[in-house]
Amino acid sequence: MIEFSNVTFKYNVTLSDGEKEDIYGIRDLNFSIGKGEFVVLTGGSGCGKTTFIRLINGLIPHFYNGELSGEISLDGKSIRDMSIFEISSKVGSVFQNPRSQFFNVNTTDEMAFAAENQRRDPEEINKRIKDIAVSMKIEKLLDRNIFELSGGEKQLVACAGIGVLSPEIIVLDEPSSNLDHHAINRLSEILSAWKSEGKTIIIAEHRLFYLGDLADRMIVMENGSVCNEFKREDLKNLSHEDTVKLGIRTLSLDSVSYDCKPGIGRSSNLIFSDFKFTYKKNRHSIDIPKLDIPEGCVTAIIGHNGAGKSTFARNICGLEKRCRGYIEYLDKRLGYKDRLHNCYMIMQDVNHQLFTESVEDEVMLSMTSDDMSEDDKRERAREILDKLDLSKYYETHPMALSGGQKQRVAIASGIASEKPIIVFDEPTSGLDLFHMEQVADVIKDLIRIGKNVFVITHDYEFILKCCDHIIHLENGTVKDSFNLDDGSICKIKEFMCEMSEVS
C-alpha cells in the first residue's frame, strides 16, 4: 500500500549567519507497508521518524522545503503526482502538539473540518460525528470550546476528526507527548479500534509501553535510516535491558527497574500550611491544610487530569495572590511574595520563559544581586552552563537551540537565580530515553547543590529514575504522600493501573 524506494530527503535550513545548509531527514530508505498494518516508528530525537511521517501525509514535498529523491507511492501512485488535497482524503494525521493542530475554536466544527474540506454532505457529517462520539464515548466533548479542554481531550477530538473523515491510512506523530496515563489508555483503545477496522496505521512515538500489544512491526531508526526492525513475535521477547541497549523507551512498565538510592539526606522538612485556592469556575481547585515534605529531595506530584497538580505548582511558586497559605522552610515563613522570590518554575513550554538574545545573557538576567560585577556574573554564568553541557552555546540565541537544550538553559537560569525551590512542569513530555535520562541526571545534580525539586509528571520511567518522594493529588486534596522505596513503588503502579480502569 505504501512503498518507499531509495528515498532520501534533505531539509534546506537557513542558519543564523544567513548561510544555507542541508540537513538529512531520511537517507536512502527502502520500505513497504502493507494494507492494515500497524507500524511503530521509534528512535532518538532527530532520527528521521517525523520526516518519515511527513513523507506519507504529503507535507513533504508539498509543504516543507528540501530535496527529495527516490520514489514514494500510495496505492501505486507517486506522491509527487498527487496534490496534497488528494493525499489528505487518503491519509489522516494526528500531530504532536495539541495546541497548534486545530483550525477551529469549537470541537464539533473541528471534528467536521477535514470532512467539510472534502465537500462531504453536511447531514452525513453530522450523523457521523454523532456515531463517532458515541463509539469513542466523547459525547461530553461535543460543542465545546477547544481551549477549555485538557491536552488529552484535545487529542481525542483530533482522533474523532479522523474518525469522521475515515481515511484508509492514519499517521500519528508522537501523539502521547502531552498526555497522562488515562488519556494514553483512551488513545490506545482508539488505535485498537482502528486496527480492527482494517486501517493502516503508522505511529512515530517515544513512549512505547502502550503500543506493545498493538504493533505488527516496530522500526527503530537512527540518522535517517532503519537500524532495527522487529516483528510482532520478536516484540514480546524484547526485555527492558534490550530496549535500553537500543536506546528506546520500555515496552512494558512492569519491567522497569528501580535502583534504590541511599536514604534522603537532610532531616528538616518543608511544611506547607493552608494551601487553599479556587478558580472562578471551581475547577482545578486545591485544598491542602497541612503537608510535610522532607527537605532536599525530588518530589513527584502525580494525579489525574484536573486533580490540581498545576494549580498546586502555581501556588508553590507564588503566582496566585489570593492563596493565603505559606511554606515553612528553614525556620522562615514564606508567603506568596516570598515564594515568588524563592521559587522558580521550568514551564512545560520553555519558549515562554526565555527572553534575551544569547544563552549567556539569559542566565545573567537571573542574577539579581547588585554586588556582583558584570564580569563576575559572566564567569558564574559560564560555570553553570559548562556543568549543563552548554559550553558550546554561550553566544547562541536560545530559540535556535533544540527543545532539550532550551530546557537546560531555563534550568541554568534557575540555578543562577539562587532560588532554593525549583518546580518542573512535565519536563519529560516528548523526550526520548537519552534526553529523559539527561533531565533525570540534571535534577539529581540540583539536589546535590542543595535545591528542593518538585516535578509534575506522568512519566513512570522518569519517576523511578530520579524521584524520592511522591505527592498524590486527587480532587485538589493530598490523597497520599510517601517516600519512594522498594515497598512503595507498588502504590504508584496501582495508581497507573487505576487510571486504566477508569477508562
Binding site: 504529503g58 507535507l59 509543504f63 516543507y64 496534497i84 488535497f85 493525499i87 489528505s88 482524503s89 491519509v91 489522516g92 494525521s93 500531530f95 502538539n97 497548534s100 493542530q101 486545530f102 483550525f103 477551529n104 475554536v105 469549537n106 464539533t108 466544527d109 467536521a112 473540518f113 477535514a114 467539510e116 474540506n117 472534502q118 465537500r119 462531504r120 453536511p122 457529517i125 453530522n126 460525528i129 465545546r144 470550546n145 477547544i146 481551549f147 476528526g161 473523515l165 511558586c317 503566582l319 515568588l340 522570590h341 522558580y344 518554575m345 514551564m347 513550554d349 519558549n351 515562554h352 520563559q353 526565555l354 527572553f355 538576567l365 537571573s366 539579581t368 530559540m399 537560569s413 537565580s417
Partner: protein, 239 residues
C-alpha cells in the same frame, strides 16, 4: 475582557441569522450617529435605543440589558428636556457626556450583542454566503482561533516574567515591550507553521469551496427584522 466570538452557544430565546444582525448593526449605527432630536427622527432614535435592550434580553444578558436601559433613557431624556433649559459650562458638560453615551452606546451594545451571540462558524458561514472570497474568510477564521492562543501565551509569559522578577530590573520601557513581544512573536511564527501543516493535511485549500455543518438561514423573524430595518432607514432618509 474576551476578544472574539463565541465558541459555542447556549440556548437563546430566539436566534438570528448573522446577516440580520449586520442589518441591525448598520441601521442602528447610522441613525444614532447622525439622527436629529426632533420629529420623526427623534422617534426613530428612541426605537433604536430599545433595540440593543431587546437583543441583550434575547440572549439572557439581563443585567447588562437593565444597566444599559437605565443609562440610555436617562441620557436621551436629558438631551430632550434638560439640555434646552441649561446654559454655560454645565450645559456643555452634560452635552458632551450625553452625546458620547447616546451616540456610541447603542452601536457598541449592538456590537457586543453580535460578539456574544454569534459563533465563529456561523460568522464564517455567513461571510461565505455573502460571497466573501476564501482569501478573506480563511485569515479571519484563523484570527478568531488565534486570539485565545495569544491570551494563553501572554499569560504564561507574564507568569515567567513575574517569576524571574524581570519587571523590577528593567527600567527601559522599550526593553520591557521587547521582552513581552518577542516570545509572543516567536510563538506566532511557530503557530503559523504548525497550523499550516495541520490544515494542509486536513485538506484545506485556497481555491476550493467547502461544505458547512453549521446551519444558517433566514427565518420568519429574520425577514420581519430586516424589513423593519429597511423601513426605518427609508423613513430616516425621506423625512
Amino acid at each position: 475582557m474576551e476578544i472574539g466570538l463565541q465558541s459555542n452557544l447556549s440556548r437563546d430565546l430566539f436566534h438570528l441569522d448573522p446577516r440580520t444582525k449586520l442589518a441591525i448593526l448598520i441601521t442602528v449605527g447610522i441613525i444614532m450617529m447622525s439622527g436629529k432630536y426632533t420629529g420623526v427622527e427623534y422617534v426613530l432614535r428612541l426605537i433604536c435605543v430599545a433595540v440593543p435592550f431587546l437583543l441583550l434580553i434575547s440572549i439572557r444578558l439581563f443585567r447588562s440589558a437593565f444597566i444599559y436601559v437605565l443609562l440610555m433613557y436617562s441620557t436621551v431624556l436629558c438631551e430632550g428636556f434638560i439640555i434646552p433649559h441649561t446654559k454655560g459650562m454645565i450645559n456643555l458638560m452634560i452635552m458632551i457626556i450625553c452625546g458620547v453615551i447616546s451616540r456610541f452606546g447603542p452601536g457598541y451594545l449592538c456590537g457586543w450583542y453580535v460578539v456574544k451571540s454569534t459563533s465563529v462558524s456561523e460568522f464564517i458561514t455567513a461571510m461565505e454566503r455573502m460571497h466573501f472570497p476564501n482569501i478573506i474568510t480563511i485569515p479571519m477564521s484563523v484570527m478568531f482561533r488565534y486570539f485565545p492562543t495569544l491570551k494563553e501565551d501572554y499569560s504564561s509569559i507574564h507568569d515567567a516574567m513575574k517569576m524571574r522578577e524581570i519587571g523590577k530590573k528593567i527600567k527601559n520601557p522599550f526593553t520591557y515591550i521587547e521582552y513581552i513581544l518577542v516570545p509572543v512573536m516567536m510563538s506566532t511564527v511557530r503557530i503559523a507553521n504548525d497550523l499550516s501543516a495541520a490544515s494542509l493535511s486536513k485538506g484545506l485549500g485556497v481555491n476550493r469551496t467547502r461544505t458547512h455543518i453549521c446551519k444558517i438561514g433566514l427565518r420568519f423573524i429574520d425577514y420581519i427584522l430586516i424589513i423593519s430595518m429597511v423601513v426605518m432607514l427609508v423613513t430616516f432618509y425621506v423625512f
